[in-house]
């Protein structure tokens, strides 16, 4: 490997090593609520939303953020996300899960 390319690789590796691991936020879904249903995130902070369901097939949909996950029983749905704009963004369950489905949602609040 040429000297210049080797140095570039070293610099890139150092930058990667300095980046903190994304904060993992576990979110439980069950009829008919997400827990927690309100998430406060910091602008630019990478996170991983980890969804599990305690009963039936659910969905997570935050259309204004372009985030979506199928939440299937006995699996963990991981949604990596780095907030790039401030504000409050609604999310909802988008897989019909019974009477009360319409009220199943929450909000992601992104602050600077």
């Amino acid at each position: 490997m040429k000297r210049r390319a080797f140095l570039a690789l070293l610099v890139a590796s150092a930058a990667w090593a300095d980046e903190p691991a994304p904060r993992v936020i576990p979110i439980k879904a069950r009829k008919f609520e997400f827990t927690p249903s309100e998430l406060e995130l910091k602008l630019g902070e990478p996170v991983v939303l980890e969804f599990t369901t305690e009963d039936v097939h659910m969905g997570f949909d935050a259309p204004a953020l372009g985030l979506h996950a199928d939440i299937v029983p006995e699996r963990v749905a991981r949604v990596p996300f780095t907030p790039r704009k401030e504000g409050s963004f609604e999310f909802a369950c988008d897989v019909f899960c019974g009477s009360g489905h319409e009220e199943m949602g929450g909000v992601i609040i992104v602050r600077a």
Binding site: H57, G59, D61, A62, P63, A64, E90, F91, A92, C93, D94, V95, F96, C97, G98, S99, H101, E102, E103, G105, V107
Partner: protein, 292 residues
């Protein structure tokens, strides 16, 4: 996408409701004067619901049926655009509610009735009980020069139409001339009205794309429990009021929840729609459950 300027169309009608005139494109295969007709759209009856948002849940549908029966003349046919019953996890209870609903609508004077499911009827069992009681969840029919298409965007609990039905839609549309008058009946909005509240169809844009080459398409739907008018290009989309409780305007409140029952104005925000198919337009009249 664009909203429709309701000020251009609305005027007070003599029936205690409002009239919305929806024009057709020039060159439409319009019906002759003797073929003009009207039909009635009822939606979101949620039979089986119990709760504070409607203390007369068991009485509202019978009152609406009485109001439809009082129309003179009677409509050519009646459509119910989904959520006939309120959902339940119990398959036996679901069938009981469907049987009761079937018996109730047996009291309608107009015997030509077209039904389609909402997510409350069909999403927990992929439409199984609905089909047992009421037949196919998607179909088409013709009436006096208008081609009607009922689309099912609820049997999939994710709120999608699905590849198979979309292929059927394309085949059905292939039988129609570009200027044919087409009415689509469905439950969820085909366009993304407010996906944050699940007021959308996952693959609705594919249905709209299939409809786009047709010049005279009008969509009547339910799901959002309020009157709403919208256009995607030349295609008009009209949501009907519910017969159980109203919902707030899209995004108008932090959390979607039924509009509270107002004892001073019972049944406010509930109602049904009369649609007159005239030579070059549809006239929509929004009618209340009870005349004030």
């Amino acid at each position: 996408m664009q909203g429709i300027d309701r000020r251009q169309f609305l005027k007070v009608a003599g029936l205690g409701g409002l009239v919305f005139a929806s024009g057709l494109a020039r060159g439409a295969d319009t019906t002759s004067a003797q073929d003009e007709f009207f039909f009635v759209q009822l939606s979101d009856t949620h039979w089986g619901f119990r709760g504070a948002p409607n203390p007369d849940a068991a009485g509202t549908l019978p009152k609406a049926i009485a109001a439809v029966n009082a129309l003179d003349p009677q409509p050519d046919f009646i459509v119910f655009t989904g959520d006939l019953t309120h959902t339940t996890d119990d398959p036996a209870e679901r069938r009981k509610r469907m049987a009761q609903f079937r018996d109730l609508i047996g009291g309608l004077r107009t015997r030509q009735i077209r039904l389609m499911p909402g997510e409350h009827d069909a999403s927990l069992d992929n439409g199984e009980a609905f089909k047992e009681f009421f037949g196919a969840t998607h179909y088409s029919f013709d009436h006096k020069g208008v081609h009607f298409i009922a689309l099912d965007n609820v049997s999939d609990p994710k709120g999608a139409i699905g590849d198979e039905q979309l292929q059927w839609l394309k085949s059905d549309l292939a039988t129609q001339k570009p200027q044919a008058r087409i009415v689509v009946l469905t439950h969820r909005p085909l366009f993304p009205l407010y996906p944050q509240w699940d007021w959308a169809t996952k693959d609705g844009e594919r249905a709209i794309a299939a409809l786009m080459p047709h010049q005279n398409v009008t969509v009547f739907y339910g799901h959002i429990h309020q009157e709403h008018h919208f256009k995607t290009a030349h295609i008009e989309h009209h949501a009907a009021r519910s017969l159980i409780f109203p919902q707030p305007a899209p995004g108008s409140v932090p959390k979607r929840a039924p509009v509270a029952w107002d004892p001073a104005h019972p049944y406010r925000g509930l109602g049904f729609r009369q649609i007159e198919a005239e030579r070059d337009e549809y006239k929509l009249s929004e009618l209340p459950v009870l005349k004030v």
